[in-house]
Symmetry: C2
Subunit: 257 residues, 2 copies
């Protein structure tokens, strides 16, 4: 760990007032100087969206005394971009942590999650980055049992760094008796959508997205398995989306153009 | 290729009225039965965002005669989810094509792109999927020189399928003299943000996201290299974000919890 106090960027997708980010801030204050840049409204499910058709607001906030905080009108990824460019102005923080999300981001959720996309954006900016999520979707979620794990994982990342081009996706089961930490791969899973169709007062249909998380993976090395068995799951995530194993397959095709 | 006419889902992120999707529809009509589900407004930069806090609209549209079309109030990923669940109702299409995007989606843009996220969502639904993009950001972009490549790549995917858990990211240079097709990996690149700060009539600052695409990769096997050298780039993409090579590194850490 650096001898000077590390600087830690804290972001989330549930918005600056969420209990999850308050819990994360409290742990990070033990480890370094905290700067918060978080959305001014809930941004769940925003994935890696950025705001390109309209301008953004970035304003100082005093929500928690003694913490340098900014609220942003954009997405979680916008928050990281504005933090790096306008708040830190090129002096990169030593760590970027996102969350703690109210709800799991295991399996395929890494793609839909604003929490994880903020951490991915931190990693793209070469900042060691971690996304944290808890298996409790309520605003009243109790994060206390996760905090010693959050602290330990963040300390390890500050000490060891992370392999180039990677970040961590950390999920916690909703039990006070977490059995330990499992290093995992992303479970093969998807959402089986079920749109709830309704009719508005003008007789026109509209649809609410709902769904069921479908686990199509029997592996005991997945994040879903770890969580089901009361472990905290840690998945190393990369943002090179290339399916390298498929390149020889495609090279064998004969294109007639 | 199946003996019956294949069914092809066409989506995009520039919106249902974009010239790019019109060009893609015209090619796909030569190959099969086309169903279009596209956003009712531009959705560039939406990444893998989904709409979970408000309801969605899905309405029939008659923009192009003889084509089954629906416009959707949501994101590109919402369009695919609604197509699979409400339009096809479980009868999966044989192919999902997204685009043709007005602008490149090479390198790291695969993460920000609504075009590519729609194709990723198709692949998550086990539909062979392809995203197409052209290096011309204008509404007046001329797609004619790409169309024989679009046709050939789509035909190959219909004939051969794709390796499990993969899709294709196809980008075209903006030249009438495309030299051919290169199978590539995603270039190591990022955006160097430059927020344009302005002051509103009420003396409050606001920010426009701008930036410069930074290529940090000298490889001649990347999509950026192919495009710079006037080839169409084809990158196989996966949605398993696990950095498998980092798992042993993390397993060597000693967590003290």
């Amino acid at each position: 760990m650096k001898s000077t106090k590390p600087t830690i960027l804290v972001v989330n997708d549930d918005g600056i007032t969420a209990p999850g980010i308050k819990a994360l801030i409290s742990v990070m204050q033990e480890l370094g100087r905290v700067v918060v840049v978080a959305p001014d409204s809930p941004q769940s499910g925003m994935g890696h969206a950025i705001t390109i058709g309209k301008p953004l607001r970035l304003d100082r906030d005093d929500l928690y005394e003694g913490v340098e905080m900014y609220r942003c009108s954009g997405t979680p990824v916008d928050c990281v971009k504005l933090a790096v460019t306008r708040v830190f102005q090129g002096h990169k923080p030593d760590l970027c942590v996102s969350g703690i999300n109210h709800g799991l981001n295991n399996g395929i959720n890494v793609l839909y999650s604003g929490t994880m996309s903020a951490a991915v954006e931190g990693a793209i900016e070469h900042i060691p980055s971690i996304g944290f999520s808890l298996d409790d979707y309520t605003w009243q979620a109790d994060f206390n049992h996760c905090l010693k794990y959050v602290r330990e994982i963040a300390q390890q990342v500050l000490q060891n760094g992370l392999p180039v081009g990677t970040l961590l996706n950390v999920n916690f089961p909703n039990t006070p008796h977490i059995k330990g930490i499992k290093i995992c791969r992303q479970a093969n899973a998807k959402w089986a959508e079920e749109f709830d169709e309704r009719v508005d007062p003008y007789k026109r249909p509209y649809y609410w997205l709902t769904g069921v998380f479908q686990l199509n993976d029997n592996g005991q090395d997945t994040d879903s398995w770890a969580l089901d068995n009361h472990y905290a799951s840690v998945v190393p995530v990369q943002f090179d989306m290339t399916a390298h194993h498929a390149i020889p397959v495609l090279n064998s095709w004969k294109f007639d153009v």
